[in-house]
């Protein structure tokens, strides 16, 4: 089982994955960036982005996915996203309140509107995407170890 996983799944799966993984990733970015206009938002988009990496890992094996996003990078992005979100919250103090929406509201229905909401979405998506990827990698590695022992 473990050796199979290093190599990944069959050729058909790999080809389809190669085609779809980019689309999934872009869809995730779309969901994040339009979170304040349409359904979705930082969290759902972040999970979709993470799922695109998970998809890659399931099809091509662990190494291929870790080459695109290493564990160190994932944990860096995660902490950065979290700090970004907290900093946005603390920047609200410049206007007098924790979490004040201190930016201009802009035109409704435009991509650049709603003040801090898109920024928060991006920060959350970083955090969530990297975090879920990190969880998944940790669990997969644990599983490989368990199987190796048996």
């Amino acid at each position: 089982m473990s050796r199979e996983h290093e190599k990944g799944m069959s050729l058909i799966v790999k080809t389809v994955t190669r085609l779809t993984v980019g689309i999934i990733f872009l869809y995730g970015i779309y969901i994040v960036s339009h979170g304040h206009l349409t359904p979705g938002g930082g969290f759902a988009g972040g999970v979709i982005i993470a799922l695109s990496f998970v998809h890659l890992m399931l099809a091509f094996g662990r190494e291929a996915a870790l080459k695109k996003l290493s564990r160190a990078a994932a944990s860096f992005f995660e902490s950065t996203g979290a700090i970004m979100f907290l900093v946005i919250a603390l920047l609200g103090f410049t206007g007098g309140y924790f979490f004040l929406n201190f930016l201009g509201k802009g035109q409704p229905f435009k991509l650049f509107s709603a003040g801090i909401i898109p920024l928060c979405n991006i920060a959350i998506s970083f955090k969530v995407g990297a975090g879920i990827f990190a969880i998944f990698v940790a669990l997969v590695i644990l599983e490989l170890e368990v199987e190796g022992k048996e």
């Binding site: 409704p108 879920i132 669990l139 599983e143 368990v146």
Partner: protein
Amino acid sequence: MIVYLLTLVLFSLGIYCVVRKRNVIKLIVGIMIMEYAVNLFFILVAYRMKGRAPIFSPDAEIVNMVDPLPQALVLTAIVIGLATTALLVGIAMKIYEKYHTFDITKIRELRG
């Protein structure tokens, strides 16, 4: 009213699973079912008859929107559920590594 009661049935099925089953994965599944029931309850509470989704559209005036607040809260609750489930699965897999079983009647180092 009947939808509320059906949701409550789902919730009690989850409790039953947690209380009665003796397998680590089943316990996690029971907790997931309870989470589903609570989340569904929250959205049901927010629903308005013939309501519309709480998103403005540039073309049409939208009246009779459903309550947006519980939807926002359920989003949070779903994430909390995911976090809990992930941690539980992590612990469960580590337990499997140490005990080589998911059966909690065999995982009994501690008393009480």
